[in-house]
Structure formats: structure tokens, C-alpha cells
Amino acid sequence: MSVTQQLFRRKPITAPSESPDGLSRKISAFQLTMFGVGATVGTGVFFVMHEAVPDAGPAVIIAFLLAGLAAGLSALCYAEMASAVPVSGSTYSYAYATLGEVVAMGVAACLLLEYGVSTAAVAVGWSDYVDLLLSNLLGFGIPDALEGGPFEGGIINLPAVVLVAMCAVLLIRGTSESAAANAVMVIIKLAVLLGFSAIAFTAFNADNFADFAPNGVTGITAAAGTIFFTFIGLDAVSTAGDEVKDPQKTLPRALIAALITVIVIYLLVAVSALGTQPWQDFSSEDQAEAGLAKILENVVGAAWPGTILAIGAVISIFSVTLVTMYGQTRILFAIGRDGLLPSMFARVHPTLRTPVNTTVVVAIAVGLLAGFVPLDSLWDLVSIGTLVAFIVVSLGVIVLRRTRPDLPRGFKVPGYPVVPILSIIACVYILSGLHWTTYAWFLGWLSVVLAFYFLWGRRHSKLNGTGGTGAGGSAGRDAAVPGDGVAP
């Protein structure tokens, strides 16, 4: 096998096993919409204003719309991919099945980066809200030395590290957030955000929107790049699209409904927050931590609304950290199972029945990031990883249409090829607004992962024994991804 063939060999497709706890095939469009909203409205919006408003000013509203549009277009491409390729639904698996091993490794690098960094960043944000909560309730906060890393004049961000450790212990024990707990978390998040908007609107001052786009288009694009990660999760609608009747109609409706709901929630938060103070105030030092709670305290002139918001944030951010850490362990596990990482990553503890090694590695890496790296240098790295992964999926749709037009697709992107091309253009446009340091970090990380792949993974891939051309069938779905040749 030539090196090129080796790099672009594809993983044979096996149908995902029927899971007894999987979604029922009777899921309605409304349920799917709510599922998408719950998966998307994370906790990024609790911190992102402080990072994005200084770039775009009040035009951050446009940045939210731009980021939402790109995420929606990508989600449509995701949905076609999910319906055509019967694999587990991870971006990494799609890339492996359609574009080849080296692309899958690149996507894996993106996912690991975005997951690792977002978990760390969210943990740092959690630490800020915990500090505010302690100050408001007990009258003393966490000492500065233990509330920030060396770059911020402290020693370590201890609460963030403690949160990561707690989540790691729960994951090692096999704790899983139940559907009911997830629903409660979604309700808490929405209640907190809507409560924030309701109170913030009482102090609304339209004059704050006068200087609408102080930094012009450049500022808006940069803010869209920072904001983009808050739309991660829409793909949940795409991967669950298999479970609806008539996906061709239901899926785009659910996707658009979820996207509009999410955008409305974010815009309510953004507009109400911008109405309370001049945009320049968002970059002030005192709003660097637990920004939304600080805004409420300024509006009401009392600590109680901020305290309530902080309680909601502390609870819901904890659950988000648990889920994102879980996601990262499962990505590493999948890569390990494919032989592209040492086998220790694919080992499951016999009695705990969880991938303990993988969880410990993730916890250490994320804990170090959360404990020592300042938050504001992290968010853009999450967005860049996601944007690149989404571009790969959109590209995958085009490639698959050309190489396997015969594949049965439960859902086809409307307006092909315009939508995938628009999706790529939108993602590239948002990428263009990111700072060069973000690119440097990203390319550095990508180089490390790909170097590891060339030196080690390529030789140990499970496909070495099979020739790895990707022939495979699937029970239940008559879909096999090509068994011959190489992705172009």
C-alpha cells in the first residue's frame, strides 16, 4: 500500500448497535427542537459577552446572527452526513468513513482541542461564579492567589481544578447525567438567562446602542469567531434526525426552529445586557469574572439577583463540564480503539466499566489548562476547532455526493450544492476574523497531532491488517461506504 493510499484509507462501516436507551423512532419535531435547544444553550453565553462586546460593540447582535447562520448551515450538512453514513455520529467517524484516516486525525485534533479548551474555559468561568457566590453569601471569596493562574498574578485557579477533578471522579465511577437531570439543567439555564433579560430590560437605555459598530466589519467578524462556540450542539438535532418520521421534512424544520430559539435567547441576553451599560464597560476589569451577575448587581443595586444567577450558573456549568469532559474521553477512546493512539486509551476498567485511563489523561490535561491558563486566551481556540470540523463535514457532503451518489440518504441538504458551499464560505469567513495567535496555537496543535500520526498512528492503525479500503455493510440500512479506491 502506498503512503497516499495509507493516508486516505477509510474505515469500514458497521452499523451502530441498537441501543436500548437510544431515542425512540417516534420522536416529534417539537421534541427534536427542544433536544437541540437543550444541547446548544450551554454556558458560553454566561462568559462570552465580556470577550465579544469589546470587539464588536453593540453590533455583537450581528455577530450572533452570523455565527448562528454558519452553525445552522453546517448542521444541515451534518444531517445529510448522519443519514448517509451509518456510524456513531461523531465528526471524527464521518471523516474516517468518507475522507480518510489522515483527515480523521485532523478532525480528531480539532475535537480534542475544542473539547479540552472549552472544558477548561468553562471550569474557569465556574470558578468566577463560585467566588461571587461565596462573597455574596458568606462575605468572603476565594483568595486571589487561588483564583487565577500565574499569568493573572495568582498561583493556581483552584476551584476550576477542583471542578475538573470532581467531574473526573464522577466519570470514573460511571455517573451519567440522566435525561431528567439534563432537562432540569436546561430549564435552569433558560430560567437564569430569561430572568437576567427580564431584570436587565428594566434598566434599558437605547443610547447605549448609538455607537453601533465601533470597530466596523472587522470587529463583528472577530466577535462572531469568539461567539461561534456558543452554537456548538446543533449537530445533536442532525444526529438524532434518524429517529424522526419523514426526516426530509421534519429535520430542517426542527433544526431551524432550534436555531431560531437559541438565537432569540442569545439576542435577548445580548440586547438586554447592552441596554444596561455602554459597550466599553463590558471590558472593564470588574466584569471579567461572572459578568452577567455583576451587570444585574449594577442594575438593581443589590446583590440578590446576582446571587440567584450565580447559583443557576454554578449548577448548570457543573453539568456542562461533566458532559464536555465525557465527550472528550469518548473521542479519545474512539481514536484509541481504531489503533491511532496507544491501546491504553481504549481500555475499559473491568469492574468500573469506564475508560479510566482516558478519563485520567483528560482530567490532567484539562486540569492543567484550567488551573494555569487565563480564560480569555481560550475561547477562540474552541471556535477554530469547531469551524474546521464543520468545514470538513460540509466538504464531506460534497465529496460523498460525487463519489457515492447511489447511497441512500434519509435526508438530503436542500439546495445542493449551494448550502454546503455557503456553509464552507460562512465558516471560512468567521475563521478570517480570528486573531493570528489563535491560528498559531491551532496549527501548532494540529502539527503535533499529525506528527504523532505520521510517526506512530499510521503504523498502528487497526486498518493495517485489513487493507483499510472501507468496504463494509450495515444491518438495517443498505448503506456501505465505498470499498474501493481512495478519497479524492
Partner: protein, 292 residues
């Protein structure tokens, strides 16, 4: 060598006698029925209340023994059985002392009265014995009746922990002279997945399928290493919860479930892990808990 039945007349007492008899027959050893009379504190009271209590306690124990004798005479008149009253400050301690004196192979108890029919429920005595007994404890499900063909198969619930290999070897030793077969089952759960973005909804299936492969390899390894004989049945049983996992196994009337223990400190004692506790709770057949 005997099978020792801790007998206190009431619900569950008959079940313990049935299981004790079946185990004694299966292992080809004697049956000893023990009833415990509670001793009071060593300090005599002025009004002799303590002496009255001891008398009452002895009388109750003797009545229990008479009841056990009558029940066994009716069910299995030909079995050689010894009946004995023992005294102790606590029932579990008295049973352990009696087990040592009788060189008991196993202590048999009935389930607590608050369980459903057919369910194994550890009562307070069994629960304390589980944490302190140097000999195996057998608990009969509520309403248990000995199978016509006796005990034919012992199913060891193996968590995959190497420390439990000793328990499997002891179990083999125990049944070496009998016709009973040994089966080893690893129980597992299919955990629900969480829904992290871009990871898919089947993230947990990968982990589950790897765990299953590992569990099957480990079970095959037991045969390769001679821990169980080459004909021994081994299987992985799974479910969405512990009840479903236990139900995934085919159970027959002559089955007994055997659960090993984790070594707890320097002393070998019966001490169940949390998974074992749940498996026991859902067992439809009698359970034997081995000390580490």
C-alpha cells in the same frame, strides 16, 4: 463439616431450612440447626430483670428448635441433623462462634420478611454477618423450596477483579466431590449515553462493546489458566439496569448464585462491593457470599 442453619422461627425460617438441607445434601455433609438465645449484660440488676430476660430468651430459642425439628421431620425425616441452642450477646457473633465450633462450611439464613416472594433480602443479622463472617453466608430467597434434583449448578458472579480468582478456586474445591457444575458470569450494564456535541449519540456503545470484548477475553482466560475446567460455561450478562442484567442469565431451580468479596484490610471477611450488592438484590435463586 456441616451446613449450619441460623434458625429463628418466623417468615424466612422455613426457607433457610430448605436451603440448608439442599446444600447439605449437595455437599454430602451434615446439617446443624442453631438457635440463638440472647445473653444480657454481665452486671446483674437488683430486680433480677436480666435473669428473667435470659430465661425468656432461652425458652424462645428452645421453642424455635422444636419448631425446626418438627418441620424437618415432616420434610426430610431421614436426614441426620443436630439441633443446638447457643448463647451470645449478639446473634451474628453467636452464629460465628457456633460455626467455628461446628467447623461449618457455610452459615445459612433466610431472607428478611419485608422482601417480595422469590427475592433475596439481607436482614439485619445477614447484613452484619456479611461484614464479619470468616465463613461463607448463604441466603435463601423468600418462599424458597429445595429443588427436586438438588443443587446442580453454582454460578459465580465474577466482576473481572483478579482478587476474586481465589474465591473461584475455593468454590471449585467446595464442589469438587459433588455433581454440581460451576458457571462463571460477568454482569454488566449498558449505561445511557450523555449527548456531547459532535461526538454522536452512540458514544457509550463503543465503551460498552470494548468492555464486553474484554470481559469475554477475561472469561476465556479463566479456562486457559485452568481456574475453571475447560467445559465450564462462562458468559457475559448485560442489561440497562442490574435487574435486567441478572435476568439476562437463564436460571434454573437447581441454581445458586455465588458472590465473592473484596479483601477488606488484613482479615479475610465477606464484604460485598456495590455492584455485587445490587446483583444479590435481584437474584432469583439462593445466594452464597464468600469471604475474601
Amino acid at each position: 463439616m456441616t451446613v449450619l442453619v441460623g434458625f429463628a422461627d418466623g417468615r424466612g425460617a422455613q426457607d433457610a431450612l430448605e436451603l440448608g438441607g439442599a446444600l447439605a445434601d449437595g455437599l454430602g455433609i451434615g446439617l446443624a440447626v442453631v438457635s440463638v438465645a440472647r445473653r444480657s449484660w454481665g452486671t446483674p440488676s437488683i430486680s433480677r430483670v436480666d435473669a428473667e430476660f435470659i430465661e425468656w430468651s432461652r425458652r424462645v430459642a428452645d421453642e424455635d428448635l422444636a419448631s425446626a425439628r418438627a418441620r424437618l421431620a415432616e420434610r426430610s425425616p431421614h436426614r441426620q441433623t443436630s439441633f443446638r441452642r447457643v448463647e451470645g450477646r449478639s446473634v451474628p457473633a453467636a452464629l460465628i462462634a457456633a460455626a467455628r465450633e461446628e467447623h461449618a462450611t457455610v452459615i445459612v439464613l433466610g431472607s428478611a420478611a419485608d422482601g417480595r416472594l422469590g427475592q433475596v433480602v439481607l436482614g439485619s443479622t445477614a447484613d452484619r454477618l456479611v461484614h464479619s463472617s470468616p465463613v461463607p453466608i448463604a441466603v435463601a430467597p423468600r418462599g424458597y423450596r429445595a429443588p427436586v434434583d438438588g443443587i446442580e449448578r453454582l454460578t459465580f458472579a465474577w466482576s473481572g477483579d483478579e482478587a476474586e480468582i481465589t474465591s473461584i478456586l475455593r468454590l471449585r474445591e467446595l464442589v469438587a466431590s459433588t455433581d454440581a457444575r460451576v458457571r462463571v458470569v460477568t454482569f454488566g450494564l449498558r449505561r445511557p449515553a450523555m449527548f456531547p456535541p459532535e461526538v454522536g449519540l452512540d458514544a457509550e456503545d463503543d465503551v460498552f462493546s470494548e468492555w464486553r470484548d474484554q470481559a469475554e477475553r477475561s472469561l476465556n482466560g479463566l479456562r486457559d489458566r485452568g481456574v475453571v475446567d475447560s467445559a465450564a460455561e462462562t458468559l457475559v450478562a448485560v442489561g440497562a439496569d442490574w435487574r435486567a442484567a441478572v435476568d439476562d442469565v437463564d436460571w434454573e431451580p437447581g441454581d445458586v448464585l455465588v458472590v465473592g468479596s473484596k479483601p477488606a484490610g488484613a482479615v479475610a471477611r465477606v464484604f460485598m462491593g456495590s455492584s455485587a450488592t445490587k446483583i444479590v438484590r435481584h437474584s432469583p435463586v439462593p445466594v452464597v457470599l464468600l469471604p475474601a
